[in-house]
């Protein structure tokens, strides 16, 4: 099925716009800490470094601002955000709200394919040892939660999630650099949610998400102090 012609057909466009290639690159540098909180990102410097004009850089920065990873100040240049405890509280209270809507909508819509994906991710979580890469932790964590948003089939909810997802990535990355415990807790935490999904109990599911994200929030805050 996935022959070379299929791949060509799936390619939405011949070559992506330059800004669309810049966004993931900058996002990853910010999330991973390669571009540190507070780092200054003048358009001209980025343009020179990435060997393109300022136009596509400018559009990429607008997108990163939308994702909450940079702040733009008129005539002052972009700056990587530094997330405070208050920011974390905002991110997690909004995340809880969105994820409760996601799981409520996902429960009657999850397909065998969705569940298979979740189980596969759970398997990878279980197999993780203590020397995991921080990036792996957030990749697996998102792979699990993203399924709920996909199954919810709600484009505006997904967009709202995408708007804080990069900030969550940034938080999880730095947390797992500071303290590696994903291998100890990730499987059990997410398996519990998976089991409740099987039960189809909406109330239990929203409570499980509440418990899970509240725990995650507290681990984030604790890791910073």
């Amino acid at each position: 099925m996935a022959g070379p012609l299929d791949q060509l057909a799936r390619q939405a466009e011949r070559s992506p716009a330059l800004w669309a290639t810049v966004v993931p690159a900058l996002r990853q540098m910010i999330v991973s800490g390669a571009l540190a909180p507070g780092a200054h990102l003048p358009e001209g410097e980025l343009a020179a470094a990435l060997e393109m004009s300022r136009g596509p850089i400018r559009e990429a920065l607008i997108e990163l601002e939308r994702e909450g990873l940079v702040v733009l100040r008129r005539h002052r240049g972009a700056q990587v955000i530094a997330l405070t405890d208050e920011d974390i509280e905002e991110i997690y209270t909004l995340r809880l709200s969105l994820e409760q809507l996601a799981i409520t909508r996902a429960l009657p819509r999850l397909t065998d394919e969705h569940l298979a994906t979740m189980d596969d991710v759970l398997e990878q979580m279980r197999a993780l040892g203590p020397d995991y890469e921080p990036q792996t932790a957030l990749d697996l964590d998102f792979a699990f939660h993203d399924v709920l948003y996909q199954a919810a089939a709600h484009s505006r909810l997904d967009r709202a999630w995408q708007q804080i997802r990069s900030q969550v990535a940034m938080l999880l990355h730095s947390r797992h650099v500071a303290r590696r415990d994903f291998h100890e807790i990730a499987y059990a935490e997410h398996k519990a949610i998976r089991d409740i999904i099987t039960s189809g109990d909406t109330t239990a599911a929203t409570e499980a998400i509440n418990h899970h994200l509240t725990g995650a929030y507290h681990r984030l805050i604790t890791a910073r102090h």
Copy 2:
């Protein structure tokens, strides 16, 4: 307090960027139906009409896309969205989720100033006759609900709300063109919420919001068929 010097100090910038002046103008034309759903908005045409280059037009369209009022297609030009029943269902389920978070957070944070604003808006709703302008209906409706988001003091929640707020405006505008009943129901609906706010009962408040937005959703759907 609000002398001319205060106003100068509050002015964030000498003159706003061109894209920042274009956004409200286009938004209003879309919301009011002056630019109809499906209308085609090539950058070049807008630039000529507004007497500026394509750069600021482009940035304005990116912002309107973020607000869900236009879709951008590569090399095909922007197009005003046409909202389906499915879109309305998405908008209102997400709105309910956001507004429940807003009112939960607002309850312990509402100041006398917030409450005075709400009461003033309620007074204007009560005074409305059957020949109200559709724009007035959505202005008052938003003036009321926006207070909750302000009192919630949650920048990411506010941003998520701003992302669907323009679409709600579009829906409310066309609904009140089609059927003028705001003067009959707006005061009672919102007064009920206001009274529960006074009580400080969070459970009652989220239930009231649920009831209010579910009713609003059904009136929207009914007005279309």
